[in-house]
């Protein structure tokens, strides 16, 4: 487990710069070359996707920003994992084709939503939003993003279901690894003075980053259209 974690961390450091949201090009050709059941490679790629997918990480950071209790972290992360597992599996197996730019734009909005909620925006507007439901729904969007990207590759139908489950398990493992790092950082950060002030600024920046993702994907959609 420690070795796997180290591998994931190394993968994060090495590929964070070059890895955009999708499945990196050399990984793409690797996936396409796989025939039959290849659980471990798919698992690794799933984990790598999660650990290096900055949009997932931003959303995750937003979700756990003010979660102090382990129970709450587990609840929200499970909701998110449930959401993206459903759409990842169903999306690929049923061959649901969504526009990658639109899905990624929604993922960008999920970051904006979470940051705005963290800032008390909905409370100020007098809106009561069930954040658990929202996390689950945006989890669905994140899973769609992944299934859309996987479908762009010509996956071998041989052992597809098993491979997908492997990929999904990898995504969860990657999420645990990323979560571990995030929780560690937050744990240290929360102990600092001025955390509250910094948290306000950080969520403002998080909202801005989500907006950038949204605009980036929207422009990509318009350009492709």
């Amino acid at each position: 487990m420690i070795v796997k974690l180290l591998l994931l961390l190394t993968g994060l450091l090495l590929s964070a710069a070059s890895f955009a949201h999708g499945v990196a090009a050399n990984d793409a050709s690797y996936i396409e070359s796989l025939k039959g059941i290849a659980v471990i490679p798919y698992m690794y790629l799933g984990a790598k996707h999660m650990v290096t997918g900055y949009d997932h990480l931003m959303f995750l950071a937003g979700v756990i920003f003010f979660l102090y209790r382990f129970k709450d972290v587990a609840l929200y992360v499970s909701l998110f994992a449930m959401g993206h597992s459903i759409t990842l599996l169903v999306g690929v197996l049923a061959g649901v084709h969504a526009n990658a730019h639109i899905v990624d734009a929604i993922i960008g909005l999920s970051v904006v939503y979470k940051a705005f909620e963290n800032l008390g925006g909905f409370r100020r507007l007098g809106l009561q939003i069930d954040s658990r439901l929202a996390v689950f729904l945006f989890g669905l969007a994140h899973g769609f993003g992944l299934s859309t990207k996987l479908q762009e590759l010509s996956l071998s139908p041989e052992g597809l279901l098993v491979n997908l489950i492997g990929f999904n398990v990898g995504v969860e493992l990657g999420q645990f690894a990323a979560l571990g790092m995030l929780l560690l950082v937050f744990e240290v950060w929360r102990r600092t003075d001025h955390f509250i002030r910094a948290a306000y600024l950080a969520n403002t920046l998080l909202m801005s980053a989500g907006l950038i993702l949204f605009g980036y994907q929207l422009a990509g959609y318009l350009q492709a259209a």
Binding site: N118, G121, M207, L211
Partner: protein, 218 residues
């Protein structure tokens, strides 16, 4: 009950502060999008700042493609601007147009049979213009022979254009092709080191001007 323990949930910011926060986030996002992300990703550069920062040229459509010009032995790297870019159905311009040559007639083909007495030498050359193609096949009936396959400009007017394609002190024959890197005579020098005569059979095909047979000498 909500599990969220955001301090801003229990003490939300004032409407004015919230508005300013959202505006600041929007402004920041807009500035980064317009000056960095869109120029770099899509070559959309409404402000011109992306171009100044050198980000605009990183788009796939304007990527330079390096092509190796292997024709004529003069391996030079040609940088060709890809019209369409990666994934486009647009062809890129040929770095060396001579890789394809349309001709008025079919290629010539000739076969020579030369009997080389013991310790005698001979030379046969094809006169080729630049980029013209020659294919050849030759063999000897027995033993081994010295061969120097080379090319030079006609009348040795340009000493620099003297190249050796292949030298073999004990050859029984060779097959191959040649694209002339410069105009001139391209061909074979043979020396029979055997105490017996050797018969060389040479077949050439291609778009040569003529074949010069220098004859046998001791």
């Amino acid at each position: 009950m909500s599990a969220i323990k955001s301090p801003f949930e229990s003490h939300p910011p004032s409407a004015r502060r919230l508005l300013l926060t959202v505006l600041a986030a929007l402004m920041l996002a807009a500035v980064i999008l317009l000056t960095i992300v869109l120029p770099a990703e899509y070559s959309i550069d409404p402000t011109g700042i992306g171009g100044v920062l050198g980000l605009k040229k990183t788009t796939a459509a304007e990527q330079k493609i390096e092509l190796l010009d292997t024709l004529g032995g003069n391996e030079k790297i040609d940088t060709t601007s890809a019209a369409g870019g990666a994934g486009s159905s647009q062809p890129i311009p040929l770095p060396n147009p001579a890789v394809h040559q349309s001709q008025d007639s079919a290629a010539q083909a000739e076969t020579f049979t030369i009997t080389l007495p013991p310790y005698a030498q001979t030379e046969i050359k094809a006169v080729l213009k630049t980029s013209k193609v020659l294919m050849y096949a030759w063999k000897i009936d027995r033993g081994q022979i010295y061969v120097d396959f080379h090319g030079h400009s006609p009348e040795w007017t340009n000493k620099e254009a003297f190249v050796r394609y292949e030298e073999n002190k004990a050859s029984t024959g060779a097959n191959g092709s040649l694209v002339a890197a410069f105009p001139g005579e391209h061909g074979w020098y043979w020396l029979n080191g055997n105490a017996f005569p050797v018969v060389i059979t040479l077949t050439v095909q291609g778009y040569y001007d003529k074949i010069i047979d220098y004859g046998v000498s001791k």
